[in-house]
């Protein structure tokens, strides 16, 4: 790529890339069939970070309606309240489970709520009590979470989603907080950072999930000073020019957010060489289609585009003033977070 294009973040190109995701995806994206809600989140939150939400003003209502069409409603004695990833197994237009295999997924619930808030919805159609009830079912004895009552794996990712959801519905009734915090603490590896679970390798993604969960659940003070110091050291050590996710692994754009946000929450975002981070990210930028990729030799995708941008927004001092800063624990813009807070304040009065 010519040097000229490497020098600046192509805001409008990235906005076009993200908007296109909302409009249509190629057949090769079939593997994302049951995760479309998360794709919508990457796009909408990405446009928000780019200050380009106005580009989808005309779609705002229909996106909100589409997200709600993935909400599974249920009775108080059922535990299936929450969001699906898409309509692929929605077999009729009812808002109830449409077949015995129609289950919500915790990541989709988190990203659906986030997207709704970013678009200005007031969440009045959401039944927080039923969300909490469904979530309780997903927490295991060791404190970790599964994604869905159907079963499946359990790890730090879903624990984070649960913690984030408690912020959106302003209630921790859905989590046994003590158990959750214990799972997180038990996942601290000898390296000083967090794996997906006990004994598992410390990793940038699970470290973010762990620290954000602790932050959201009020558990950060469970880490003594010297453990915070080791954790910070591990995180800053992951910068090569961009960030890697584990020692001796290649750099990858998405860790800009996972590690940038972790260091932000711990108060050490100013110990990152942000110009170097941006330099690396720009090598992954596609000047024709827009979008950011994992690394410079790969095609851009929604996840890396969003996490590269939201990560960059956290730079201290600010590198790209055109970007909206995100809240590191919830991964939505501070503006969207303010809207969320106003919703909660209104509910209280």
């Amino acid at each position: 790529m010519p040097d000229q294009e490497d020098e600046t973040l192509l805001i409008d190109k990235h906005a076009s890339f993200l908007k296109r995701i909302l409009l249509v995806l190629p057949g090769s994206s079939a593997p994302y069939d049951n995760q479309r809600v998360t794709l919508a989140y990457f796009s909408v939150s990405g446009l928000d970070v780019l200050n380009r939400l106005h580009l989808i003003d005309d779609m705002r209502e229909s996106i909100i309606e589409w997200i709600y069409s993935n909400l599974i409603n249920c009775d108080i004695d059922d535990n299936r309240y929450g969001f699906r990833g898409s309509s692929t197994f929605k077999l009729d237009s009812s808002d109830r489970p449409t077949n015995i295999h129609d289950y919500p997924h915790i990541t989709m619930t988190y990203t659906a709520l986030a997207t709704l808030v970013i678009l200005g919805d007031d969440l009045s159609r959401i039944n927080g009590e039923l969300i909490s009830k469904g979530m309780r079912d997903l927490q295991l004895e060791d404190g970790s979470f599964q994604a869905s009552a159907e079963g499946g794996e359990n790890d730090m990712r879903f624990l984070y989603c649960a913690a984030a959801i408690t912020s959106f519905i302003d209630s921790k009734a859905g989590i046994d907080v003590e158990k959750a915090i214990n799972y997180v603490i038990n996942s601290l590896s000898y390296e000083g950072a967090f794996g997906q679970g006990p004994w598992l390798e410390a990793h940038g993604g699970s470290t973010y999930c762990a620290v954000a969960a602790l932050s959201l659940l009020g558990g950060l003070d469970r880490l003594p000073e010297r453990k915070i110091e080791s954790l910070v050291r591990w995180c800053v050590s992951k910068q090569i020019s961009g960030f890697q996710g584990r020692p001796n692994k290649p750099e990858d754009t998405c860790y800009t957010f996972w590690l940038g946000a972790t260091l932000k929450m711990l108060g050490f975002a100013n110990c990152i060489d942000w110009p170097e981070i941006q330099k690396f990210i720009l090598t992954t930028q596609d000047p024709i289609t827009g979008g950011l990729a994992r690394s410079s030799d790969i095609c851009p995708d929604p996840l890396h585009t969003y996490l590269g941008l939201s990560g960059l927004s956290l730079a201290e001092p600010v590198l790209s003033p055109q970007l909206q800063i995100v809240d590191p624990a919830l991964n939505i813009s501070l503006r969207a977070k303010k809207h969320l807070e106003s919703i909660h304040n209104q509910n209280e009065s």
Binding site: G27, A30, D33, S62, S87, A147, E191, R233, N248, I272
Partner: protein, 315 residues
């Protein structure tokens, strides 16, 4: 879409159209304004349409099983289809060894797919529930060998390593004779593979292996001597020493002796060790000097080391 299209789609994946003739496909209703709509290939649309109808009836038959086989090839991330298939395996009493074979053939192109690894764990759990005589050719060692085969394709694959740890833990396989040589093989292949070091820690740092801990200190030292700036063995060394209620001071002689290593002066890891030892010994001047050196040798972390220097001087 007409019957000819449906037949063509089925035949294209090697399924007999006649078997599905009575099934009216339920096509995807994405609502009036779908967001992030995927332009599904026709084949996928047809197969999903048929599956939806059969899932709605909760049919648990061979023809549904075959549909899931084809669909998971197109979309191995479809967790609902995996769950349905796991039910089908029980209902149809399918041979689990065959299923493992098939799963492995899918894995090679999808090594970072959570559902495939979870499916493997589901199968292992079912096999371990059976008496040994009913497991066919399956053995735990065979399963671990399969993980090693997959690791050859992607030596640091997080799922593979986590799965291996999960197997050893859940089924209490710590005393497997072949593990120590497996670990050695992986380290010999790449001494910078952090996942192996983590696995090593998991395997050896249990109370029952306490007598091995001193050897593990030596393992870390050997690795450091080979590649002084390798973050992995330094972290391992610190971890093992902490388990022994000790710290880097107990290997101070070793750290000092590394000064003869040609890469030591430029090694951020070496200087960190010297900084840490100085701090532990309460030697502020030496600690500040080491931090100052790190500002030059580990420049990308300049602000971090500067902050560190200030913190030491403040104490």
């Amino acid at each position: 879409m007409n019957n000819a299209d449906i037949e063509e789609a089925l035949e294209s994946v090697g399924l007999l159209a006649a078997v599905y003739r009575d099934v009216e496909p339920t096509f995807h209703d994405d609502g009036p304004n779908p967001v992030c709509p995927i332009n599904y290939p026709r084949r996928y649309r047809v197969l999903m349409g048929l599956l939806r109808t059969l899932v709605a009836k909760s049919e648990k038959s061979r023809r549904v099983y075959d549909l899931t086989t084809k669909l998971l090839l197109e979309n191995p991330a479809h967790y609902t289809i995996w769950h349905y298939r796991q039910d089908l395996l029980s209902v149809l009493d399918k041979d689990l060894n065959d299923e493992l074979c098939w799963t492995e053939s899918l894995s090679e192109d999808n090594l970072k797919n959570y559902q495939l690894w979870h499916h493997r764990m589901v199968l292992t759990r079912r096999l371990m529930e059976k008496p040994e005589s009913e497991r066919g050719e399956w053995t735990m060692q065979g399963e671990l060998d399969a993980v090693e085969r997959l690791l050859q394709l992607d030596e640091k694959n997080y799922h593979a390593w986590s799965y291996r740890i999960g197997l050893i833990k859940e089924f209490n396989q710590y005393d497997l004779e072949a593990e120590p040589s497996f670990i050695q093989r992986m380290l010999d292949a790449d001494i910078r593979n952090n996942s192996v070091w983590n696995y090593c820690f998991f395997f050896y740092m249990r109370e029952a292996r306490r007598e091995k801990w001193k050897e593990e200190v030596d393992r870390a030292k050997d690795a450091i001597q080979k590649v002084i700036n390798n973050e992995s063995p330094w972290a391992y060394l610190r971890g093992v020493l902490r388990k022994m209620n000790s710290d880097l001071r107990s290997v101070e002689d070793f750290v000092i002796s590394l000064s003869s290593n040609e890469y030591a002066e430029a090694s951020a890891q070496w200087w960190r060790a010297k900084l840490e030892i100085a701090e532990l010994k309460g030697q502020a001047d030496q600690a500040v000097a080491a931090a100052d050196r790190l500002c030059k040798v580990d420049q990308i972390r300049l602000q971090y080391w500067q902050k560190k220097m200030i913190a030491i001087e403040a104490k």
